[in-house]
């Protein structure tokens, strides 16, 4: 199998993702690991909560991987996204791409995270000490 797309409620395993993406044909792998930051626009963030519309999120991620395979000579693509409550420093998303040459891996990885943030139905809520907010909900 060329792609692996998963949504987990348990912590993501970076090493497992890297092990899966490597192959003898690869000249390089590119891995993007998203992490929960402790502040947003100067406000201290206590934790995040992620929610997904799972079947559609998987479908949208599959669409992204299809687009990538049409545009770049990459070998394997992995997207793992976390849902539930995440503390500072935890990992909401891992994207990994392997390719014979690094340009394709870098470009594809960048395309995947940028597109995921625009199209995949997953939402994050930020918790502050004086309230909480669904990110990007309001202009």
């Amino acid at each position: 199998m060329q792609t692996q797309i998963e949504i987990h409620s348990e912590p993501l395993n970076t090493q497992q993702c890297i092990d899966w993406i490597m192959s003898p044909e690869s000249g390089g792998i590119d891995v993007f690991i998203g992490t929960v930051r402790n502040a947003t626009k100067g406000r201290t963030v206590l934790k995040l909560e992620f929610e997904a519309y799972k079947p559609m999120a998987i479908k949208e991620m599959r669409t992204i991987t299809k687009e990538v395979l049409e545009q770049w000579p990459v070998q394997r693509i992995l997207i793992h996204h976390r849902v539930g409550t995440l503390q500072i420093g935890e990992i909401p998303v891992i994207i990994a791409v392997s390719a014979a040459h690094r340009d394709a891996a870098f470009e594809a990885c960048r395309y995947i995270i940028d597109t995921l943030k625009q199209t995949v139905p997953i939402w994050k809520k930020e918790f502050f000490d004086d309230g909480e907010v669904w990110v990007a909900a309001h202009p």
């Binding site: 995949v120 139905p121 990110v135 309001h138």
Partner: protein
């Protein structure tokens, strides 16, 4: 016809739950659903944007809805 509408993110807060039932005319479109929801839940109009998904696909405004479609309100996404 009665359509069940799933809600996620802030839409869940606006509807007060993970799904609601909306009564629509037989040949209702996605646009009809939106205007019915916006009348009942004016906070929807305050969102930066929102989409309707039908059977796990983003739907155009003119698309016809059928009773058994899986319909969801998709407020601005913020994954990653």
């Amino acid at each position: 016809m009665e359509i069940t509408v799933l809600a996620f993110g802030i839409a869940k807060d606006i509807f007060g739950g993970p799904s609601i039932t909306v009564d629509l005319a037989a040949a209702a479109t996605t646009a009809d659903l939106k205007s019915s929801l916006e009348t009942q839940y004016p906070r929807l109009k305050k969102l930066a944007s929102y989409m309707v998904a039908v059977n796990n696909e983003y739907a155009e405004d003119g698309g016809l809805l059928r009773q058994r479609d899986e319909v969801a309100i998709i407020p601005p996404v913020s994954g990653g």
